[in-house]
């Protein structure tokens, strides 16, 4: 049997009095590629942050490789939403990716070693932006910036990679490259992907979770109309976004909810 990468049991996370997600139980096996979809405000990012140990669980448990998220930090790589970062910050691409090599705690007089730099160069080559290594981040396009964030997450050498909408505000070519890269990475690591992008859901992921405050659906990546209705309350809207037909089944009730 495969090891469990993430184990979530009856999770409740509240912001003040307001529950963001409740009653979420979810297991992610090692090597799995899980996609999470859901409407804005449905708690997708909250779930990721709970797995990262950034927000405490009000109730229930979150475990990463059998331990609390705080204890297994070195196993997890995280690609945040692109919009939350300050693109004007005076830092180069090399420096950003190198931060993934920093030690835990605080490191006085820390200097990156030759090996750290080599790891970073290799990763930049892997994500295909090694020619931009000394660029300032303010000079990068959306796609390049996002690939840099993926490289930074990989610099931690994680077993579990979490991505929060990595293809938002990214051009089509970069989006395809990013999905290609994730499929490649999935050979060595577990991936949890939060996305609005239905194309990715259909073609790549092993399992799908639909989140709208609670877990609407968790299982094979095939959406029934009923699930979509529960999730968004408006299937037409989804189809207008370019949902491929093979994801949305024609008939209702094909899969148990």
């Amino acid at each position: 049997m495969r090891e469990t990468a993430v184990h979530i049991d009856n999770l409740l996370v509240c912001y003040g009095q307001v529950p963001a997600i409740e009653g979420v139980s979810l297991d992610v096996a090692d090597g799995e590629y899980l996609g999470i979809i859901g409407p804005n405000g449905g708690g997708k990012s909250t779930l990721l942050k709970a797995i990262l140990g950034l927000i405490p669980a009000t109730h229930g448990t979150v475990q990463v490789y059998g331990n609390s998220p705080e204890k297994n930090r070195s196993l997890v790589g995280y690609v945040p939403q692109f919009a939350v970062l300050d693109k004007q910050f005076p830092i180069s691409m090399l420096e950003v990716v190198l931060t993934g090599r920093l030690k835990q705690g605080l490191s006085p007089f820390f200097n990156y070693t030759k090996e750290d730099k080599k790891v970073v160069y290799d990763l930049l080559e892997k994500v295909g932006i090694e020619s931009l290594v000394n660029r300032q981040i303010s000079e990068l396009s959306g796609g390049e910036f996002q690939k840099m964030l993926i490289a930074r997450a990989l610099a931690v050498k994680p077993r579990l990679l979490l991505l929060d909408e990595p293809t938002a505000s990214v051009d089509v070519a970069s989006r395809d490259q990013i999905y290609g890269l994730l499929a490649e990475l999935n050979k060595d690591m577990t991936i949890i992907l939060v996305t609005h992008d239905m194309l990715a859901i259909s073609s790549q992921i092993h399992r799908l979770a639909c989140l709208n405050g609670y877990l609407v659906y968790h299982g094979e990546p095939e959406l029934t109309e009923k699930v979509v209705n529960n999730l968004y309350g408006c299937p037409v809207d989804l189809i207008a976004h370019g949902l491929p037909h093979r994801v949305l089944k024609d008939h209702e009730g094909g899969k148990p909810n």
Binding site: R73, S74, T99, F109
Partner: protein, 277 residues
């Protein structure tokens, strides 16, 4: 003036004080501008006025009072902000005016004729004493040491606090440490430009450097250089026309910033035009 520096002790003190002020405002100023903590620094600075008043009332060195009050303000604002529940600008505003009010209260409670507080409010670099100078030098040393010591951690924390905390860097500690460093910086700057004008010296050199240098380290170095130029020229003018040094330094810094901004945007426009053609 160069001859005068060798002759007069007070000018030597003023000269060293402006160098110290330039170093701290260059380094911490860049962080404040990048991390958008300008108003927070203003709040810490103004709260320190309460300490100045307390110093006069209890009969100890007012700058020590300012030091204690600004450290408490930094930790207090940081704690409330971290706990959440209130908006940080509200807390900053309250600390800001509470500190000033306490200062006025303490001075009013003082028996006898009230002291002249304008050198603390607007700064008077020509009245820096030996004791002030020792305090300034040690604080500057601590600030530079702490920043250099953890430079790579600072960089990760400033760019992306969330990621830094995920990879296990102690970001809460760094946040409080940064606030304490800002409080120390404020104390160093009070004698030079005064409580009310501190913000200008924290922002003008850093923002000017921001237009010219693209890496964090370079930005800090440029900012220190700009600060030195602003302070020394301000000191020189204030010595000759006998006006509060703080005012002269701030006016000169602001004019320089706008000048560089104007030239920089002109050059940029010229460049993009050329590319289009």
């Amino acid at each position: 003036m160069i001859k005068a520096i060798f002759e007069y002790q007070f000018l030597q003190n003023a000269f060293i004080a402006s160098i110290m002020a330039s170093i701290v405002c260059g380094i911490i100023g860049v962080i404040i501008v990048e991390k958008k903590l300008v108003m927070m620094s203003g709040g810490i600075a103004h709260t320190s006025y309460g300490g100045v008043g307390l110093g006069y009332l209890m009969g100890f060195e007012p700058i020590i009072g300012a030091f204690l009050f600004s450290i408490c303000a930094a930790l207090g604002i940081g704690y409330i902000k971290r706990k959440g529940g209130t908006r940080s600008d509200v807390v900053i505003g309250l600390f800001w005016s509470l500190g000033m009010a306490l200062g006025i209260l303490f001075v009013a409670l003082m028996p006898g004729y009230p002291p002249d507080l304008s050198s603390y409010l607007f700064g008077n670099i020509l009245s820096v004493t030996k004791a002030d100078l020792y305090l300034m030098i040690s604080l500057t040393f601590i600030i530079v040491f702490v920043i250099v010591l953890l430079f790579n951690d600072w960089k990760a924390y400033l760019f992306d606090e969330e990621f830094a905390s995920i990879i296990g860097i102690k970001t809460a500690f760094l946040e409080y440490l940064l606030l304490v460093l800002i409080a120390m910086t404020v104390v160093v700057l009070i004698r030079v430009v005064g409580i009310i004008l501190v913000i200008a010296l924290l922002t003008a050199p850093a923002a000017t450097a921001g237009m010219l240098a693209s890496s964090l380290k370079k930005r800090m170095i440029y900012s220190v250089l700009f600060g030195t130029v602003f302070c020394i020229i301000g000191l020189w003018i204030s010595y000759f026309i006998n006006i509060a040094s703080g005012a002269v330094i701030v006016i000169f810094s602001a004019i320089s910033y706008f000048l560089v901004y104007f030239i920089h945007s002109r050059l940029k426009r010229g460049k993009s035009k050329r590319i289009k053609q």
